[in-house]
Symmetry: C2
Subunit: 186 residues, 2 copies
């Protein structure tokens, strides 16, 4: 059975908590009346405020063109219970199938963008493309997260981290070492 999360608005300047550890994410997009989803592992936080994310999306992906043309997407964080869905999405083409339908996912309405949220994911970050200087050379988008929705529980879900060759690392324990930090470094 799929999880039902209760989500709340989350401060966009604090999303590093979820993205910096490096999970694979599902990117949903919307263009010319159609929705699509892709998996993405090549992303990094770039700034707290504005809340910037950089990501590389292969040009042969159907989603690449949808995001480039619409200038928008949603970054959704799936959890370990969704691993079959994550693999399925990565192994199919949005030009051939409706991924929301195929994988029985729920497209929920975003607030700031037209791309849909994936309801079954733990967190959803609505994004707008803000810089395309590195797009032609590296397929690299700089995006601003303009709205974040995060499940209130669990605090740290089991996320999926890709190693290539069909292998995934599953997130382990979270440990608090804040007492060893200088206050100004926290």
């Amino acid at each position: 059975m799929k999880k039902e999360y209760h989500k709340k608005d989350f401060p966009v300047a604090q999303i590093r908590k979820f993205l910096e550890p490096g999970p694979i994410v599902l990117v949903s997009s919307h263009y010319k009346g159609k929705d699509n989803i892709m998996t993405m592992g090549w992303h990094t936080v770039m700034e707290f405020s504005p809340s910037l994310i950089g990501c590389m999306i292969t040009g042969s992906n159907h989603s690449f063109h949808m995001i480039k043309e619409s200038g928008e997407c949603v970054i959704n964080i799936p959890t370990f219970d969704m691993i079959d869905t994550v693999i399925g999405i990565g192994n199919t083409r949005g030009s051939e199938i409706d991924k929301f339908k195929e994988f029985k996912l729920t497209a929920a309405q975003s607030i700031e963008v037209k791309a849909p949220l994936i309801k079954e994911c733990f967190a959803n970050f609505e994004c707008k493309v803000v810089d395309d200087q590195l797009l032609s050379k590296y397929n690299f988008f700089v995006m601003e997260i303009v709205k974040a929705h995060v499940a209130t529980s669990p605090k740290y879900p089991k996320t999926i981290h890709y190693r290539g060759e069909g292998k995934f690392m599953i997130s382990g324990r979270t440990l608090d070492y804040s007492s060893q930090f200088k206050p100004e470094m926290l």
Copy 2:
């Protein structure tokens, strides 16, 4: 006691195996006769071949200027047994102390760059800055990994993934789902 790794050359086009899961890394640099080390969590793989990495380094870091001026660095992957060292490096300034000496780390010679390898780390990736288009606006470097050295064992070490606020996620199990992938997606 610190670990002693036996390392081998590793194909630079395959380093995503270690960096895509999102570990915090130690970046070593060399400029004007001095070495330095910083911690870095904001990085992403950008291409297999050439082997490209993108990373954001705060301008107030002493290492930022050393890497910008020398055009080189080494990305080193520390393991969980080094967490006190990782925190210590992140909480001190290279302009004030010699981090190799302070944290009893061994600076080993690189092959392709002048920046030293950190011997105690599981993997070392020698890097050259290849694109600085996003440097002035975002402090974002595009680097090419020109040489990689990786420990022959263990296959998947316990890596450290930063969540901010002094909290770290420690890498969990690696699971093989390659049988669920289409061959061309592997």
